[in-house]
């Protein structure tokens, strides 16, 4: 059966890259549509692996370890990200070497956006060509470690924005403190999602994920209502605004505590 994603059949996606793939080329489709959190504007993300990246002559982005082609088909953008086996190996080794149990500040953003996307999506995709080669690639990656990295990295983000918020509040920069406190809260929601095993790194999907699990996950439900109750009640008075920032910090700490509890239980 020829499955489809976002109104485009898998065969049609393969047709877009037909002249670049051989029988042995692994190809998988990933992104928000595959994960059930996309929309009409979401693009389709296709990944393929080649022996030699230099054989790919047409591309819009050369990320050194990968190249990206952009296609438009049936009003849908299709991004094709092409990696070499060598660059995937290097990424897997890089993740293996991360010291997630001793995450100091030098650990911050050790993986870039494309690397995190690749690592997340390889576990959240539909394989459309050469399942065996795909399975060999997946075996190189440790999903639990990727999740731990995301958790520890976000914890550093929270601590940074928490301290920024306090500094701004103490110095009277109340507008800055409000904005940074909202970020602190948003990062704390991410931490909670990571503690539950999620690995989607995109901020833009944070609330869609919470909404998707709203009925089944009581923690997600509580966090969702806490966050929007906070956002809906921005006060006018400057003294009330100080309480508003304090409330964000309090909620953030509540979420962080919960996240650590869940992670301990998981371990």
């Amino acid at each position: 059966m020829n499955e489809s994603i976002g109104g485009v059949h898998h065969d049609e996606i393969l047709d877009l890259i037909r002249n670049q793939v051989t029988e042995g080329t692994p190809v998988w489709i990933a992104g928000s549509l595959v994960e059930g959190i996309g929309n009409d504007s979401s693009d389709i993300d296709v990944y393929m692996v080649v022996e030699d990246l230099n054989t790919i002559k047409e591309f819009v982005t050369d990320g050194c370890r990968f190249k990206i082609q952009i296609h438009y088909f049936k009003s849908r953008r299709v991004d094709v990200e092409i990696w070499s086996y060598e660059s995937i190996d290097r990424l897997a080794s890089k993740i293996d070497s991360l010291q997630v149990d001793n995450a100091e500040n030098s650990f911050l953003d050790a993986l870039d956006e494309n690397e995190i996307d690749f690592a997340h999506r390889i576990f959240n995709c539909r394989v459309v060509r050469n399942t065996d080669a795909y399975a060999d690639i997946v075996d190189r990656f440790d999903r639990v470690k990727i999740n731990r990295y995301l958790f520890e990295n976000k914890r550093i983000y929270i601590d940074d924005s928490f301290d920024d918020t306090v500094g701004m509040l103490n110095s009277g920069n109340i507008s800055g403190a409000i904005r940074r406190s909202q970020e602190t809260l948003e990062f704390s929601i991410d931490l909670l999602l990571y503690s539950k095993g999620w690995t989607n790194p995109k901020n833009k999907h944070r609330f869609k994920i919470l909404e998707a699990i709203y009925e089944s996950d009581i923690d997600a439900r509580e966090v969702y209502l806490d966050y929007w109750s906070f956002m809906h009640n921005l006060p006018i008075n400057k003294y009330d605004k100080r309480d508003y920032v304090n409330t964000a910090l309090h909620l953030s700490e509540k979420m962080v505590e919960k996240a650590y509890c869940l992670r301990r239980e998981a371990v």
Binding site: Y214, Y224, L225, S229, H232, N246, L251
Partner: protein, 219 residues
């Protein structure tokens, strides 16, 4: 060193966060670090702006059964005095308010009201002509009837409290009012409702029956 009294109530300072790093527990206030032992960590977790030092000590007692009660009290006082001197805690009057429950109550009320608006027999009137306090009473009455139906019918999972029930509906309304309304309509067969300011009453039509009563009834 300033000592706390047993009747004192303390709140956590807004700048302090608790973190676990490589198995060690710290309180962090900007660049100040304070490493906690098991007792001081447990004491920190119990500071909630409501319990007195004595109540905190009473909760700590069972967690440290090898210590005599007077030792627990003494250690609690010393620990919280230290927190006070380090500026990790302060008295409620000196602290900024935590408004999370206030914000939540306002938001829940607003979104439950928006659901009720959809079911109102004469669209538009409810938002314009009712005082906030009467509107709140109508909301409580309306959702209590729904909760009573939910409570009598649920059998396969842990039952939610009335607050959890209301919060769940309000939260879902934030991102999908259409589904929320349709779900309530299907589950409870609500046909409509109206109110009467003069008689202080609410009339709800559901499941082939009509409920009519004073809004203060069973509040």
């Amino acid at each position: 060193m300033t000592m706390v009294a047993l009747g004192d109530v303390l709140v956590k300072h807004h700048a302090v966060r608790r973190r676990v790093v490589n198995g060690d527990i710290f309180l962090i206030k900007l660049t100040d670090l304070c490493r906690l032992d098991e007792f001081s960590n447990s004491a920190w977790k119990l500071i909630n702006g409501k319990w007195s030092i004595f109540e905190i000590a009473n909760h700590l007692g069972p967690r440290f059964p090898s210590m005599a009660q007077h030792e627990v009290i003494e250690k609690t006082v010393l620990c919280l005095s230290e927190y006070l001197n380090l500026g990790y805690v302060l008295s409620p009057s000196d602290a900024l308010d935590n408004k999370s429950e206030v914000y939540k109550a306002l938001t829940v009320s607003k979104y439950l009201g928006s659901v009720m608006q959809v079911f109102y027999s004469q669209p538009g009137i409810w938002q314009k002509s009712i005082s906030e306090s009467f509107k709140e009473k109508l909301t409580v009455r309306f959702f209590r009837i729904l909760y009573e139906m939910y409570e009598s019918e649920i059998s396969d999972k842990p039952i939610e409290s009335e607050t959890e029930f209301r919060n769940r509906i309000a939260g879902k309304t934030i991102f999908n009012i259409d589904d929320t309304v349709s779900d309530l309509k299907n589950k409870y067969d609500i046909k409509g409702w109206r109110h009467d300011v003069d008689t202080h009453s609410i009339v709800i039509q559901y499941r082939g029956t009509v409920y009519s009563g004073d809004v203060d009834n069973r509040l």
